[in-house]
């Protein structure tokens, strides 16, 4: 099944096939589909997904959509939007800058070709932990420990940035050539000079791209952490939902999409400048 298909064989088989059985039944695939259908039915009952609920939901949906349009652009809402958006932007900026600054040392510590094994393994474990925790869960924990507001959001996004960036730093450091390092070491350079002149020039160009991507991603996620109390536009969005201000919800969602797109443009521009 999984063997790579040879083009010519396939073509010939297709040409020859109609003479015999048009399309021989593929039993494994049929059984697979049947199992899949059974699973869907079973899981639907577990999740209490019924057609009736779905229909009722669609009925709600019609009302919902009619209340969403047109989006609410009144002045007081726009000022709420502005406050939430700037806070999200600020959260994303601080989290990205701190994440970038901390991810270099953490990534270097996790690189097995530079760091002594105990350090490398503990750094790798830390990174694995950061990566497997969803930013929302981290945000909740920080909300509980430092209280509601932007600080919790910032800390949560720093953890997310560290998980992503440090892993990539460690990977690029492990892939780089060790030869220049040998030369710089032979010249008697202290470790940090070996890093600045031997390691960073090999790693930084890729790192810039990752950092730009992380800014993007933090911008997106800053809307998310707000929903659980991490400040920013997410908080505004949740409030709008709770007050059934669906026309304002649409405004916020449109604004989030817009700022994420602007973020993509800015990070693309950053990548070009540094390469």
């Amino acid at each position: 099944m999984s063997a790579p298909h040879d083009d010519t064989n396939l073509g010939i088989a297709a040409l020859a096939a109609p003479q015999r059985v048009a399309f021989p039944p593929n039993w494994p695939a049929r059984i697979g589909l049947l199992v899949l259908a059974l699973y869907v039915a079973y899981a639907s009952t577990i999740l209490d997904i019924t057609w009736a609920r779905f229909i009722i939901g669609l009925d709600h949906g019609a009302k919902f959509l009619s209340r969403m349009f047109p989006p609410d652009f009144s002045a007081d809402k726009l000022s709420l939007l502005y406050v939430g958006m700037t806070e999200s932007l600020q959260i994303a900026i601080i989290a990205t800058v701190v994440g970038v600054l901390l991810s270099l040392p953490l990534g270097l510590a996790a690189a097995r070709n530079l760091a002594p094994p105990p350090l490398a393994w503990s750094a790798r474990a830390l990174i694995a932990l950061f990566r497997s925790l969803h930013p929302v869960i981290v945000a909740i924990l920080f909300v509980k420990s430092v209280g509601f507001g932007a600080l919790a959001g910032i800390l949560a996004l720093i953890v997310a940035s560290l998980g992503f960036l440090s892993k990539l730093v460690a990977e690029s450091v492990e892939e780089m050539s060790m030869k220049p390092l040998e030369a710089v070491r032979a010249a008697g350079a202290p470790f940090l000079s070996v890093v600045t002149m031997g390691v960073l020039p090999q790693v930084i160009p890729r790192f810039i791209g990752f950092a730009a991507y992380q800014l993007d991603s933090n911008l997106r996620n800053s809307a998310l952490v707000g929903i659980v109390g991490g400040g920013g536009i997410g908080a505004t969005l949740l409030t709008a939902f709770q007050r059934f201000d669906y026309d304002f919800v649409l405004t916020i969602v449109l604004a989030i999409i817009a700022i994420v797109m602007v973020g993509e443009i800015v990070s693309g521009w950053m990548r070009r400048m540094f390469q």
Binding site: F23, Y39, L58, Q90, S132, V136, I227, V228
Partner: protein, 270 residues
């Protein structure tokens, strides 16, 4: 001995040329201004910041020892719900995304209008986060796994559809031309021409997205999407820290297991 040759040359060395230096300085200045602006306006109460490490440690101390007795009656059903949410959501997303990817792939659909509509669907579903979709669906269908499942499905359409469309566009035209030449129906061309070529990518994308969706569905409950997130929310609201610890451990474990499972599937089937 050769030093005289270039004695007249300016002996200055700068790492970057002047325009590069100006660009870089401007960029660094921009970053510094952005950070200062952010730090000044954002409400960070210094006492909270100094306190943060202590508070975070306290939090984990309160979670210990973990209350395992709570697992069978509450956490296990929630875990199953999360897994089903992620799986059903992925299946639904794959079904819808397959159709949309056919609309987007330019070698299948030659109408620019249909292409553009498909592309818009992919971008729109992807840029709104699953959690925001969950808020929508909770408002529509009420809290529960249905809302979570739909949020997962809709958010995944963009991701799956984008990669699937790319895989279809990368399909080699040779076998397809051979089929068309035999007078095969369009459906037969799809099933016998494109499908064998796209299948490996299709399975890879679906399993990869399933892995992501397990993570995502574990948190959707916080906004009413059912599953482990709901259990976490309840425990948090009741301040049952030992139960919070249990749910976190279960989420951590299921994320790791999902990652190992997808890695295994990828290496054995693909």
């Amino acid at each position: 001995m050769t030093a005289e040759i270039s004695a007249g040359r300016p002996r200055q060395w700068q790492r970057f040329s002047l325009p590069e230096r100006i660009m870089r300085s401007a960029f660094y200045l921009l970053v510094v201004i952005a950070v200062i602006w952010s730090l000044r306006t954002i409400e960070i109460i210094p006492e909270f910041l100094y306190d943060a490490p202590q508070q975070t440690v306290d939090l984990f101390v309160r979670m210990w020892p973990i209350d395992w007795s709570w697992y069978p009656k509450v956490v296990h059903p929630a875990l199953m719900e999360t897994l089903h949410t992620a799986t059903l959501g992925t299946i639904l997303a794959v079904a819808v995304a397959s159709v949309v990817s056919l609309m987007v792939a330019r070698n299948i659909t030659r109408s620019i209008i249909v292409n553009t509509i498909g592309r818009f669907i992919l971008v729109a579903t992807r840029s709104v986060h699953a959690m925001v979709w969950a808020l929508f669906f909770v408002a529509l269908f009420g809290p529960g796994a249905l809302a979570g499942m739909l949020a997962i499905a809709v958010h995944s359409i963009g991701f799956i559809g984008k990669f699937l469309a790319e895989a279809i566009e990368d399909a080699k035209p040779g076998p397809i031309e051979a089929l068309v030449a035999t007078g095969a129906s369009p459906l037969a061309v799809l099933i016998k021409g494109y499908w064998p070529q796209v299948k490996p990518a299709f399975l890879a994308i679906a399993t990869f997205r399933w892995d992501i969706n397990v993570r995502e569905s574990a948190v959707l409950g916080l906004v009413g999407g059912g599953g482990l997130g709901m259990a976490l929310d309840t425990a948090l609201n009741n301040l049952y820290w030992d139960q919070v610890g249990l749910v976190l451990v279960v989420i951590f474990a299921v994320v790791i297991v999902a990652e190992i499972a997808t890695a295994w599937i990828r290496s054995s089937i693909l």
